[in-house]
Symmetry: C2
Subunit: 187 residues, 2 copies
């Protein structure tokens, strides 16, 4: 699974074997079962996750126990309660497996050590979060301007393999509509 | 105005006079009048902006010519069509002055040179965009879970000085409701 991480990083910065050995030492491999939680609200958030295989969802659960899906993450994507991780505060979000999932994760100290120890990794994280910021901004624009139907169609176009793997009830919670509304649109 | 930039950067990374002189050489000062555009859809986006004084809005205009406000930026905030800037594609958003505004701006080449020439600046940009990503993620959660009224109240609580300066019609375009809806809520 470390080879997947290496290929992922080397799309942005090339690494020598020695450099990648340094990087790999800061990651820990973990396996989770479908429906298992990696993070739950109130947890001390110790890790941020790179998905090697499987599928995760990042969820905000409101006071009425309704689930709102902030994002999905499949192979090659990063996921976690980044706010709680980065500010070392309690989780307000949950991370749960929609499929059996393998991850490589690091602690905030590992993240700092990677940035301090190898400038290429700071460059890598900067590129990744720049594109993460852009994706979040595009989603905000889409939420401001598009109907649920248009947003569903954008999702199919952008991530066809994701839409096939995610149950409709979960897609509805991502799009911000009820399961019934989504069904009505796609009978 | 360069002193404001220096204080802003030094909240994250301390700089020697020599280092700040290197940083300052990569920025250009510009002044704009209220209602003036810094970026319009279709433009080649050459700059990204740090606001020294005044107030900007980042706008997506839909096919029906309705304005949707992606973000506001006042003193100490960064603004621009980041996607177009970062990928060197044509602007899809506009940046317009809500007040007379002074900025310091840089080109993508300046940004690259800053990151390559001074690791502290790469660290600074990484910290800034991490928090930008978090703010965008919080806004997505708020849009998924909160009513227009709740979002207005969150905005007042988080940015009281912003709400006082921005016309109600513009706040409505940010919250994703009509001017009439916002008025009804706050008669």
């Amino acid at each position: 699974m470390y080879q997947i991480l290496r290929e992922h990083i080397e799309k942005i910065v090339p690494l020598s074997d020695e450099e990648f050995a340094f990087v790999a030492r800061h990651f820990t491999a973990r396996k989770y079962k479908k429906h298992q939680f990696l993070v739950q609200p109130g947890d001390a958030v110790k890790h941020y996750y790179f998905v090697v295989s499987g599928l995760l969802k990042l969820v905000y659960t409101d006071e009425d126990a309704r689930q709102h899906i902030v994002s999905f993450a499949m192979k090659d994507w990063w996921e976690g309660d980044f706010y709680a991780f980065y500010t070392q505060t309690e989780a307000t979000l949950s991370v749960e497996c929609l499929e059996d999932t393998e991850v490589l994760c690091f602690s905030l100290q590992d993240y700092r050590d990677l940035c301090n120890g190898l400038q290429k990794m700071e460059r890598f994280f900067l590129e990744k979060v720049n594109f993460g910021f852009l994706a979040a901004q595009r989603r905000i624009i889409s939420m401001l301007t598009s109907s649920a139907k248009e947003r569903y169609e954008q999702l199919i176009k952008q991530y066809p393999s994701l839409v096939q793997r995610v149950p409709k009830s979960q897609l509805a919670a991502y799009l911000g509509v009820s399961r019934e509304t989504l069904s009505r649109l796609y009978q």
